[in-house]
Amino acid sequence: MEPMAATVAGPAVASQTEVVRLAARGDTAAFEQLVAAQADRAFRITRAILGNDADARDATQDAFLSAWRELPRLRDPETFDAWLRRILVNACRTQLRGRRRVHEISLDVTLDRRDPGPTVSDHVGDTDLLARAFERLDADKRSLLVLHYLDQDPVARIAETLGIPVGTAKWRLSEARAALHRALAAEGEARR
């Protein structure tokens, strides 16, 4: 993520590190600055992982609320971005597990099963097929792919976000891509 200071307007711009410190001491106005600067990106990450507005909104809100609660325990304010994204990923995992319990009545499932229709272009059809393949992946694989392909994170930054060695992040990303490839093949079989 870009440093938040660059996006904060005003003559006396506090660095993100200072804003994080203030928020950690209970300053809700400072925390609101952090939320305002990060909410859009956070929502897009959760929306991409979860696939619908309602779950993404819940996960984003849960993540920021968790960040607020735990902020006094963050030892290094400079790691706030990576720390927040880790919380976001965990919030998405929780959402997906909750969805497992109500899967049978999910409206999304019904919509997903509709034929795309003859007017859909090949391009949109491919994207739709790939999106359905993506739905077959677990939360960890979805998160890796979203961080890398949507957020354009290099592997080293993903490793920092997830708190794992670079080598491990690399093969987990490779595994996630391979899993998407297999899921796409399975969708292809199902379409036949």
Partner: protein, 454 residues
Amino acid sequence: MTSTMPFDLTDAAIERMLAERAGPSAPGGLVSGIMAAVEATPQRRRSWIPRVLAPQPRSTGGRALLIAAAVTIALLAVAAGIIVGALLRPPTQRLDPNPAVVPTPAVTAAPSATPKPTDSHAPIATITPSPSDSSIVNGAMVVYQFRDTVVDLYLLDPITGRKIMIGNLQKTSESQGQHIQWATDRKRAFVFASSDSVQAILDIEQGTVELLGLGSSGGRDAVSPAGDLVARVEEDTDGSSLSIIDLDGNEVRRTPLPAGLQAFSEVAWAPDGSSVLVSGCLPCSETAGQQHDHVFAVPTDGGAIREVANWTTGSFGWLGWSPDMTTIVFSGLGCSEPCTGGIGTIRVRDGLVTGLTNAADRSPAWSHDGRRIAFARDSGTGRGIYVMDADGGNLARLTSAVTDGGDRSPLWSPDGAWVVFSRVAPDGGLGDLYVVSSTGGEPRLIEQNAVADW
């Protein structure tokens, strides 16, 4: 599988799909909604417990303080458990998660309720079930199970369904990375939840759970066979190193790994504790054929690192020593499509690499006598649990995965007659434990949302 691919999977296609899923921007009112919730939510302040969990050397005085604190928590928790349990529900209620599956479970003493912990990682109960029933202890699995707001830790004979509760940990997240492992003497077991930096010892004879303060490596910790040391790969600005720490969190030895090596976090102790295997790539490349993978044996006595094997046609993933230390089994993790990873072995004396299977196979597990290998296949219609001889012969399929998450992580019973595995849902999670005869048959559900060692 490639014949059914509807189109080429390119980076651009993935980026386009994810951009569409992400949508244009956050909906209006999101920030105000978050702040309304924040205003009503108190922050959690630092307490002494996170310091206990921090990876710091502990002095004698600090250790005494820790023990005193742990004893206090345990006493409070047990007292609260007794009171709340007596008021709310009988002890047996917590011990029978699958009454329809487990035949005539013999319930033993257990923590009677879930008292409120003082911290998210604090052990909430220590009980002494006096597991004198050697018929369970000797051949039991040790199980880590998510249940509501707690993690249950117990022994289980999956064949009879009999179990002995050892204790609980407060559940903190649904994320993966949890594992549980027997020490070789089977008097203790170790719990690691890497994503939450939680480590704990289960003392089977005492019936206690003790938290360790080893901090987080970010990867997967591996406990020594004797159960007295932990190995982990760590990275800093100087590169990767293998760190050996004792159970008080003191670093016993740090061995720098070869410069430039991108080490994988999965490490494997030799059965005699004399060395630890580390794998990685040098150089690393996403282009097939240009990556060079290595396996190194790092002596735990400070001796020189020895390269055990290297190759350029595949990627060493998970590693496992055979019980007699003559052979190392590995899974070819990280291979890109078309995946030709598979299970292979390394002959320790000369580094000879032999491929045993040629599919997306993972999680190889030696039988306790070292004669057979179980593994999970994760490709196409062949997905399921398999067993084979140590040389790849007599390959037999035990299960067919019925979920998109697949069947994973097989474990052998001590006598080799049974295999336990995890059946994982598409959305991940710990998975459900099933047992199947190692000669085939119908798998039987034994526990839900759990991991185990046997």
